[in-house]
Amino acid sequence: MLRLENITKRFSNGTLALETINLEVAPQTIVSIVGASGSGKSTLLRMISGLEVPSTGQLSWNGQPIQRSQRKISFIFQEPRLMPWLKVSHNVRLGLGPSPDREDEKLVTEAIAKVGLERFAHALPRELSGGMAQRVAIARALVARPSLVLLDEPFSALDAFNRLKLQNHLLKIWAIDRTTLLVVTHDVEEALVFSDRVIVLTGQPGRISEDFFISLPRPRRRTDPEFQAWKQAILDAFDPSLLNESETLGEKSYASGH
């Protein structure tokens, strides 16, 4: 269980990014955090991963305070962030931390197979397409068999085709592993395809304004009227000013995150 109690984040320049965040994430669930740019959703994820320190409040994972990055929590960034000098297999091995055991080697092979890149285990990052590189990043995040995976807009840098493919791929992996996933996205549809819960962060500083428990059965079809109704409900939870803007621009483009 991931627990956030009264989390506040103020940056060194005085900007208050997040205010009084209280959240509990149950194991083996997928929870998405949606919100506009600047609502502090990425900052929230970075604090859970240990990359940033909260100004106030407590973060805990299974009752233990989270201080620094730990092997049971892994992170998938917006970009693959692969080490360009390492082959795919060595990049994946980084997910095992600085001192992996000898027997962990088979975990690397398994993780690469899980994302379907066996043929590219010896390729360099520069030889991969964007979608493949992001799959390597997913393998790196899953290799240590984490209990919690944090995903910071993991598919936003990909084209629409690869985004859909990777979303389905991750859902398939999740259906087997049942790892807890906490996904930050600005794409409401993506959040709905994935999540058991969708949390809406609004305002500056960001606060949790809504918490939706999504009762839709999986697999979810984007064209279902019920799916669309959920999408509308989530969009309605955004700042009214943003909603007005989205109406002007055309809601579809806003909802897909562009």
């Binding site: 990055s69 730990q70 892994s74 960034f77 692969l82 080490m83 931390g97 379907g116 360099l124 990052p125």
Partner: protein, 285 residues
């Protein structure tokens, strides 16, 4: 035709299209391309030497001041046969090698330290930067005073020259490592020395190798200053000896040998750079 068009459509929708593509390796013609590159590099010097020889033979320049390539070659052949050349080359190369090794060792430690630690940088970098602006010749009398006229002063001067480019490049290389890669390391539990080894040092390797190349070329420049300040062997000595005895062919031989030695040693680091930085995703012409 119809079948192949069909196949393409099915192939596209069946999986990740890029998986069906061959790896974009272009290794096959690397060797032959390399050979052509090396050959091209000889064309300009060859034309210049030919033009220079023709100018000398047409007596357009005073050969007592400006020796022809043939005269230089004859002089070089003479000192090769009597063993003088090897002795000078050996003395100079060993000085450059020793000075470079010492300079690079110190620069590697201090560059990595000041790049990695803000406190170390604030503590050491202002002093080192101010030392960097002292002209090389200003050190000569001081080194002679402190270390005498022997090898120590010469090697120290070369070490000092090689130090700064390596130090500066490494420090900046470490400081400019992509934050996103460092975060990826941190998120996977790498910290301190493990983070430096896995992320920071490999990421700063291109800058370090640039520093090594610059440091080595400065080393070759400083060895002239070092040998001019008093030596009985070495290419710098050969230059001074040629001047004292009024033999321009010897002076020009010395200058050409410096150029060849500098180029050859730079070639070694350039080749190592190519080999170690094969992973870089850069535009190559």
């Amino acid at each position: 035709m119809g079948t192949s068009a069909n196949k393409r459509t099915i192939g596209f929708s069946a999986g990740f299209p890029e998986e069906n593509e061959a790896l974009p390796f272009a290794e096959h013609s690397k060797r032959s391309v390399f050979r052509v590159h090396n050959t091209l590099g000889w064309i300009t010097p060859a034309i210049l030497i030919a033009g220079w020889e023709l100018t000398a033979r047409a007596r357009l320049v005073d050969s007592s001041l400006f020796s022809s390539p043939a005269q230089i070659a004859a002089e070089l052949w003479k000192i090769t046969l009597n063993g003088e050349l090897l002795s000078h080359l050996e003395a100079t190369s060993l000085r450059v090698l020793a000075g470079f090794a010492i300079g690079v060792s110190a620069a590697t430690v201090l560059g990595a330290l000041t790049g990695y630690s803000g406190t170390a940088r604030r503590l050491l970098d202002p002093l080192l930067q101010s030392l960097r602006s002292i002209p090389s010749m200003a050190w000569v009398p001081l080194f002679l005073l402190w270390l005498g006229i022997g090898e120590s002063s010469k090697i120290s001067l070369i070490a000092l020259g090689a130090f700064f480019p390596v130090y500066l490049n490494l420090m900046n290389g470490v400081r400019n490592v992509d934050r996103k890669l460092v975060e990826a390391g941190l998120a996977n539990g790498f910290r301190g020395f493990a983070l430096a080894k896995a992320v920071i040092l490999p990421a700063s390797l291109p800058a370090y190798l640039t520093g090594l190349r610059q440091g080595l070329s400065v080393g070759w420049m400083f060895v002239v200053a070092a040998e001019i300040m008093g030596a009985s062997r070495g290419l710098g000595y050969l230059l001074i000896d040629g001047q004292a005895t009024g033999r321009p062919a010897i002076m020009m031989s010395s200058v050409i040998l410096f150029a060849i030695c500098g180029k050859l040693s730079d070639g070694v680091i350039a080749t190592l750079s190519e080999r170690w930085l094969y992973w870089q995703d850069v535009y190559r012409t």
